[in-house]
């Protein structure tokens, strides 16, 4: 803070004269010589909605632009695949990696193979989604409880971390012993693997509101419930969607792992993968792998689109 000397002040009798500045040593922001600017009121919006319409027309182009890299990547994979099949592998070993048209063509043209495979995929999708829904509900609930007091967070957070640090494969045999080898156990694996990203992202989001925003609620004597529903939870929505996207991807992995190990009852796509491997049914195996990959990609795209739609519209924030 500099000492000010009133004698430094330059005097301008005519307020409109250019450069008329009230210089003040203690004032970090010098006053500009445009007194007219301060009287001018706010301009009216000409058309606040105009931006929305132009955005809609370019939507298709944007979707194309977004999908181009994916298409290029798929083309690249196919090219390498053909290369390895025909140029690297000798004919006698080509069964290890049959060229794509044989690998997929054989299975796709065989309804007896594709029927059970699609049914298995359907069962796996169902299990993954049930597991995801349970993980979302439990994860958000757990995070909300933690967000309500420092004590609750200190006590409850370690459990979530422990759950996260135990590799899922180490738990799977135990889950089988306790819960059997059918649907319930598979759902539980999905829940366990999808739970942590929901908990941690939701908690992060619930704690993301600024101190000033909390002060605003305090000054207006907001109840705990009002603070949660009108500040913490809405502030957490973008993070919850990030968590949801991660959890969805993980629950796909979870169901494949669970299917693979828990073979009781009708098989899921992961169970079929194991069967095909044991029988060395290469075309079926490749098709099943491609289906699980497609499953994962579709789930990811659905949740990424949901994320963009909800968070982009209401929060105007580009998603990570």
């Amino acid at each position: 803070m500099t000492g000010a000397d009133p004698s430094v002040v330059t005097e301008h009798r005519d307020p409109a004269s250019a450069g008329g500045t009230v210089a003040c040593g203690a004032d970090p922001a010098p006053t500009p010589a445009t007194p007219g600017a301060s009287t001018q009121s706010l301009p009216h919006p000409s058309s606040p909605r105009a931006v929305g319409t132009t955005r809609r027309t370019s939507w298709v182009r944007q979707a194309l632009a977004r999908s181009t890299p994916i298409v290029a990547a798929l083309a690249g994979i196919l090219a390498v695949w053909y290369g390895v099949s025909y140029l690297v592998l000798p004919t006698s070993q080509r069964f290890l990696l049959p060229p794509p048209h044989e690998a997929f063509g054989g299975a796709l043209s065989n309804p007896q193979l594709m029927g059970p495979m699609l049914e298995g995929l359907g069962r796996s999708v169902t299990v993954a989604m049930i597991g995801l829904v349970i993980a979302v509900v439990l994860g958000i609930g757990y995070a909300v409880v933690m967000s309500q007091s420092g004590w609750a967070e200190k006590i409850l957070y370690p459990y979530a971390v422990i759950l996260q640090t135990i590799p899922i494969l180490a738990l799977v045999p135990l889950i089988g012993i306790w819960l059997g080898y059918a649907t319930v156990a598979r759902v539980v694996v999905c829940v366990i693997i999808a739970l942590f990203p929901m908990i941690s992202n939701t908690l992060f989001g619930l704690q993301s509101a600024s101190a000033a925003a909390h002060d605003l609620f305090t000054l207006n004597k907001a109840s705990r419930w009002q603070r949660l529903t009108k500040l913490q939870f809405p502030a957490a929505v973008p993070s919850i969607f990030t968590g949801l996207r991660n959890a969805a991807g993980l629950s796909v992995i979870g169901v494949i792992v669970a299917d693979f190990y828990f073979q009781q009852g009708a098989p899921g796509i992961g169970g079929l993968l194991r069967t095909y491997t044991l029988r060395l049914q290469m075309d079926a195996l490749f098709t099943a792998i491609a289906l699980t990959a497609l499953f994962g990609v579709v789930v990811f795209m659905i949740f990424a689109a949901l994320d963009r739609a909800v968070v982009g519209r209401w929060y105007g924030r580009p998603t990570r």
Partner: protein
């Protein structure tokens, strides 16, 4: 001065601080022996070097922090607080941000809609009610913040360097705007700023604080009636008063 005024406080004072000291658990003494009184229709500015406890003063007056010693008396049915940042909820439109106060205080939907519209008009935001904070400029965001403070019809308004983050032109506009509102509503106001010219232009009285621990070292009356024309900032008598404030600041920083 009416008979219905609360008997506990002197009826002409909305905010009274009596020898207030604030020390934090870390040992930092933010304020020592601060006394001030603000009457309805007074806009009192506090200027001081950064870190002198200006914001702490406001947090104490609002009840967000407790005093270490001394006492604070507030005789206002409603108090509003304007933050350094606009502090808007980004998922709510301008109108819904203003309505939040009513929601928290249990005002009916129709009434809080009507009152939000009223104050948004007052701060010059008609036509922008449905815009979200990210679609608004810094100045317009601050206008929403002002509207949110006004919707509670405060008898005491606390301002924590509200225009500090704005560009110079917007800042001057907001000063004119606030002055217009103040002339209309005549609440009691405590306005924290680090800008001497802002303090002098807006206030009926300027208090100068020393560096930490903050004390009030000078009190300078600003004589002009409202509305004050923007050109006043370039008048020699304005320079004379800002000079006195700056001199007091310079001696004690």
């Amino acid at each position: 001065m009416t008979a219905s005024a609360p008997p506990r406080e002197a009826p002409t004072r909305t905010l009274v601080l009596d020898r207030v000291t604030k020390a934090f658990p870390t040992g930092t003494v933010a304020l020592t022996d601060v006394s001030l009184a603000i009457a309805p229709g007074e806009l009192v500015s506090v200027v001081g070097p950064s870190g002198c406890g200006k914001s702490t003063l406001l947090r104490l007056a609002s009840g967000l922090e407790e005093v270490s010693s001394g006492s604070i008396g507030v005789a206002a049915a409603s108090t509003s607080y304007v933050f350094q940042d606009a502090t808007l909820l980004e998922w709510r439109s301008a109108a819904r941000n203003v309505e939040l106060v009513g929601e928290l205080r249990g005002v009916s939907r129709e009434e809080r809609r009507a009152r939000a519209q009223e104050v948004l008009d007052l701060v010059g935001l008609q036509g922008f009610e449905e815009q979200h904070p990210r679609q608004l400029s810094g100045g317009m965001r601050m206008r929403v913040s002002l509207a949110r403070a006004l919707v509670a019809e405060p008898e005491l308004a606390l301002f924590d360097e509200p225009f500090g983050a704005l560009d110079e032109i917007t800042r001057l506009q907001m000063q004119t705007e606030l002055q217009k509102i103040f002339r209309l509503k005549r609440f009691a106001a405590l306005f924290i700023t680090h800008s001497v010219s802002e303090a002098v232009y807006l206030s009926t009285r300027v208090l100068v604080m020393s560096g930490r621990p903050g004390r009030i070292v000078a009190e300078i009356e600003v004589p002009w009636e409202y509305p004050r024309p923007p050109e006043l900032r370039y008048a020699p008598e304005f320079a004379a008063i800002t000079g006195r404030v700056s001199a007091a600041l310079g001696e004690h920083s």
